[in-house]
Amino acid sequence: LQAERIPLAHHFSNLEQQREVATLGMWAFLATEVLFFGGVLTGYAVYRSQYPDDFQEASRRLSIPLAATNTVILIGSSLTVALALHSIRLGNVLALRLFLGATLILGATFLGIKFFEYSLDYEEHLIPVIDFDPEKWPANLTMAHGALFMVFYFILTGLHAVHMLVGMGVLAYLLFQASRNRYSEKYFIPVEVAGLYWHFVDIVWVFLFPLLYLVRI
């Protein structure tokens, strides 16, 4: 009965081949994602090297405790996703559901803290174009360059948040499918592929955290 549920596509000779192709496809996509975020980070490197003091001054107004908490939360969600895959490899569907649910909760907590941070940024007048007028901006620094830092901050964290939303949508679908017993120790390809994506989103944050919050030159 379980075997009938294993969706082996007809163009693959066996599940192992199908699994390798699916994970390889995700890896290839992630390589393009490296360059997607890398492009913005290259622009960031160019402008930070030109206006180091302004970037530092703007970065000082961000909350390190909130961002550090979020880093721990996201690393924790990477662990739960890894354990979700580990569980279903051993055929433990209940543990799979629990770990997927935990990952979703951690992801939602991350985004909650992130949007709370955005509201703090708004209160401190750190929104470029709309309201950029931070208090006690040093006279020897250029406010426009600080605004440029905040542009990079919102683009990078915003793109990252969108990636998290996509990942959470995929994980919610996995949880739904897991609740219908669609995965087993024989078939867990979607869990593995979604896990790769989620870990990548974690890696992006690992770089954003020091580059945006820990600017001490």
Binding site: E16, Q17, R19, E20, T23, L24, W27, A28, L30, A31, V34, L35, G38, G39, T42, A45, V46, R48, S49, Q50, P52, D53, I64, A68, T71, V72, I75, G76, S78, L79, V81, A82, L83, H86, R89, G195, L196, H199, F200, D202, I203, V206, F207, F209, P210, L211, L214, V215, R216, I217
Partner: protein, 117 residues
């Protein structure tokens, strides 16, 4: 080929990697407050790279993955390196270029501070 499935890490490995990632996160925050002079960004990026390596090797199972996976990881790093190296080789040397073309400015104080140094 089937060896890729059997090389999956144990739950203990995952927890150890998680502990290592937390330690590195704590150290990157502490190091940000330390007196490192111009080396802050270099150290922060080195720690971030170490964390990313742990995630790729253990959480994403690149360790024990197929050669094609290794090739894709290396290709991503190579192309990212090309983008960063060629772009920054331009922007980070413009100041020096100006001095070479106009030796009179050699006595003037250096304007832009380096991103890493």
């Amino acid at each position: 080929m089937a060896s890729t499935t059997t090389h999956a890490p144990t739950a203990r490995t995952y927890l150890l990697v998680f502990a290592a990632l937390l330690t590195l996160t704590a150290s990157t925050v502490l190091v940000a407050y330390a007196e490192l002079g111009p080396w802050h960004t270099a150290v922060a990026l080195a720690i971030a790279f170490a964390k990313a390596t742990l995630i790729v090797l253990f959480f994403m199972h690149a360790l024990g993955g197929s050669r094609l996976v290794h090739l894709i990881v290396l290709a991503a790093l190579l192309w990212l390196g090309i983008m960063l190296a060629f772009t920054l080789a331009d922007f980070w040397t413009r100041e020096a270029d100006k001095r070479i073309r106009n030796p009179a400015s050699l006595s003037a104080p250096r304007q832009a501070r380096h991103f890493l140094l």
